[in-house]
Amino acid sequence: MEFERREAPYVRPPTSVGAMMREVLYALIPAALAYVWFFGFGFILNLLVAAMFCVIGEALMTHLRGRPPEAALSDFTAIVTAALIAFSLPALCPWWVTATASLFAIVVAKHLYGGMGYNIFNPAMAGYVVVLVTFPTYMNFWTAPRIGDIDYHFLNLYETARYTLTGSLPDYLTFDAISRATPLDTVKSGLQNMLTFDEMYSNPLMGDFGGRGWEWIGNFTAIGGAWLLLRKIIRWHIPVAVLAGVLVPSGVMYFLDTGVHASPGFYLFSGGTILCAFFIATDPVTAATSPRGRLVYGVGIGVLIYAIRRWGSYADGVAFAVLLMNMARPAIDYVTRPRIVGHAKTEAR
């Protein structure tokens, strides 16, 4: 009897990239729900626009490169990029800003650098940084979270959709009326104006740790992150390293001078720290690959997040921190190679 030859090992692969990316999307659902609760439908519309343009970008580029588009789209990585972009943008965001971020992320940061598996920079962060610098007015248009004792303006679905599509608010509102500083903005400008933390924290937008609303989003993001760890989609090294990289310097500075430095808890729960630790920095393609390398990479991101927030001119440093460490990643990988069994410890590398 004759048989067909195959390559060893003769096993059914236990997982796939598509399955892993879908798990990441499921893990983002709690955070998404919290975001929508506090900041309105805008997030969902941003997500839809981002997903549409990420998919268009992916299909276009794979077609131009002569590859089958189904293979690239079926691994859901474009959707994950879209989700991370949607989490980074303000809830009220015109569609062309989201579209620019998405197209830049997929077309330039991903495919022009070689496509899936070859890109150096985190596509979502690269896309976000481009629109942050290009459309500063829209990117700084943050609104108040839905918390009972502050006046927030929750646009209904129609009004949100109208703003997303046309960039115009309802007649009874103006930009200045509804835009609020984020907690990070509050602290940064407060410090520049020599306010004490008691004075800053008396602002109703500030919660126990980070900003009100933002803390809850942080909690739900962490739930999603814990889910990823349990399912072994990600390993503990990068999240723990990023969080340590934020907590340790901020803890030290806080200990040295409480009046001038925000608490470590503040840095942990405001902005995108937790999202970065579990979902952004853990992007396997652009992160370091060995366990020690990942610790170094994560700590680098955490320290940079703290440094940019504390001393830089941008309120949140997550995107820049990630991109800077992406640049350092090949060197980190080279230096942190593990010792191979049977090789001496001090072998010249």
């Binding site: 030859r5 390559e7 060893a8 692969p13 997982t15 899936m116 390993r235 190679r337 069994v341 090789h343």
Partner: protein, 520 residues
């Protein structure tokens, strides 16, 4: 009683093994009944290469009658092993036949038509107690028995022992781990022939003067553990210790077992003997016993026949040279899910194209399965690093893959490609379904090819340099001769000149440089 013997060798003092994967064993079906003996078939196909090293060369001719256990091909060179007839009959051909070593492609084989009488040959030297032989003689005798490593590597056992005898080896590790899924022949061998295994270990220990033997058995083989413990307590050999090891693939690999049992790392490019250990499969030990103490050379072995492509999974004792088709027919034939034939286990076996291949010394398992993976499903590497987590050698398969694709020999060596044991753990866990094992095998072959090319280029360069040097010397000598002749011509008188002219007229050759001869 046997329980205490099993517990007497605790596992907490085992070494650390990095990585590895826990796989479903798939061994229950094939271990549910005793080893069945396959009857001698009509035709035996005996490849000349059933071992690592040089093929054996035939010592019988076509038409010659042979007896069971008779030498039909002798070892050729330092690294080789002889082949014996597995039953009595007539040599009908010495020609290419599909073999599993070449995935179903042909290789030279001696084909014997059996006469059914299964008559054994008379031994050249009668069996004597091995303790009466000096160790060197014993090693030579083991060579004559055609004994090779039955764990799969089929390295000639005698040569392995001879190499070990030159080094300070202290421990014999009997490898009964059998960590690969589906394979259960060693398990059944230990259950049914534990005494032969342990007595074979004693022969090996005598041959090398070893004082300690560890019998390593995976914890998912309780029957084998108990049986070996029972036999050990009867043998009362203090030197032999039972060592249950955790059920992790690939803890049965030679280097991995050394690390697990003795907590020493085999140096890169080295052997277990470099750290004082000799590793032998339990089947090899039993084969040594059968040859040295009972006079039967290696002419049969226990093989697992399993998978959802055979109707009755089981272990069989079959004569070397029985075709896989005959073996499967004996066990009850194929099912409708017989889509691929694998000689070996699920992780490292060889997929062969035909069941005409014979069962050889290396055939530990005949695995017939349906296809589990669609071919050509590869995606780009996402650098998740799961492959590095499971690699037992602490390699970085994701980096090796990049360098293999780039054909970067320097980087491949630097990152330890030659240390890869080709276990397939990385391949298993890859979410992009990259054929890492195949890619590393190709890369290794490429590195050897490049090393060969380099060596050849080096030799060519040295030859060229030597030739250039030789030419220069010849050139110099000619010039000196010419100068000498010129001087002689000037100082010569008219008489000498006349003679020279006469000579040149006779020979019709001008007094100038000799023409250059043909290149050598």
């Amino acid at each position: 009683m046997s329980d205490s013997a099993v517990r007497a060798a605790p596992t907490f003092d085992l070494g650390e093994l990095h990585g590895g994967v826990r796989l479903p064993g798939e061994k229950e079906k094939s271990t549910s009944r005793a080893i069945q003996v396959v009857p001698v078939p009509h035709q035996l196909v005996l490849p000349l290469t059933q071992h690592s090293g040089n093929p054996a060369h035939p010592v019988v001719g076509i038409g010659e009658k042979v007896l069971k256990g008779q030498l039909i091909a002798d070892s050729d060179g330092v690294l080789s092993a002889p082949v014996h007839a597995s039953s009595s009959g007539k040599v009908v051909a010495i020609e290419p036949w599909p073999v599993s070593r070449r995935y179903g492609d042909p290789a030279p084989c001696i084909i014997i038509e059996c006469d059914g009488r299964d008559e054994a040959v008379e031994l050249a030297e009668p069996v004597v107690p091995y303790e009466t032989l000096p160790p060197e003689t014993l090693l030579q005798k083991i060579l004559q028995g055609g004994i090779v490593g039955l764990g799969g590597a089929v390295f000639p056992t005698a040569q392995k022992l001879m190499q070990a005898s030159t080094l300070p080896v202290e421990n014999l590790l009997l490898n009964g781990v059998e960590c690969e899924p589906y394979i259960s022949c060693d398990d059944m061998l230990m259950r049914e022939q534990a005494l032969a295994v342990l007595k074979g270990a004693q022969v090996l220990m005598y041959a090398l003067g070893l004082q300690k033997c560890y019998v390593a058995i995976e914890s998912d083989k309780p029957e084998a553990l108990h049986k070996v413990a029972d036999v050990l307590s009867e043998l009362k050999d203090e030197r032999i210790v039972l060592k249950p090891v955790p059920t992790i693939y690939p803890s049965g690999g030679e280097d991995q077992l050394v690390q697990l049992i003795t907590n020493r790392e085999v140096p890169s490019g080295g052997l277990p003997t470099d750290v004082g250990c000799l590793v032998q499969n339990v089947g090899t030990a039993a084969a040594v016993y059968r040859w040295i103490c009972e006079g039967e050379p290696l002419i049969s072995r226990v093989t697992t026949v399993t998978g959802d492509g055979v109707t009755m999974p089981m272990n069989v004792l079959a004569r070397i040279g029985t075709t896989v088709a005959d073996v499967v027919a004996f066990t009850g034939g194929y099912t409708d899910r017989a889509e691929q034939l694998i000689i070996g286990g699920q992780m490292m076996g060889k997929s062969v194209t035909t069941d005409r291949v014979p069962l050889v010394k290396a055939t530990n398992c005949i695995l017939v399965m349906s296809h589990l993976t669609p071919p050509l499903d590869e995606r780009p590497c996402i650098r998740c690093g799961e492959c590095a987590v499971v690699c037992p050698v602490v390699l970085q398969p994701q980096e090796l893959y990049w360098f293999a694709c780039a054909d970067d020999e320097v980087k491949l060596r630097e990152h330890g490609l030659i240390d890869c044991i080709e276990c397939g753990c990385c391949d298993l866990v890859c979410p992009s379904h990259i054929a890492l094992m195949a890619s590393f095998r190709q890369a290794k072959a490429r590195i050897h090819e490049l090393a060969d090319e380099k060596a050849r280029a080096e030799r060519a360069r040295r030859r060229f340099e030597a030739r250039t040097l030789r030419r220069e010397i010849e050139e110099q000598k000619r010039e000196e001769d010419l100068a000498e002749q010129k001087r002689a011509a000037i100082t010569a008188g008219p008489k000498e000149i006349q003679e020279m002219v006469e000579r040149s007229k006779q020979k019709k050759r001008p007094i100038s440089r000799t023409k250059k001869g043909p290149e050598d």
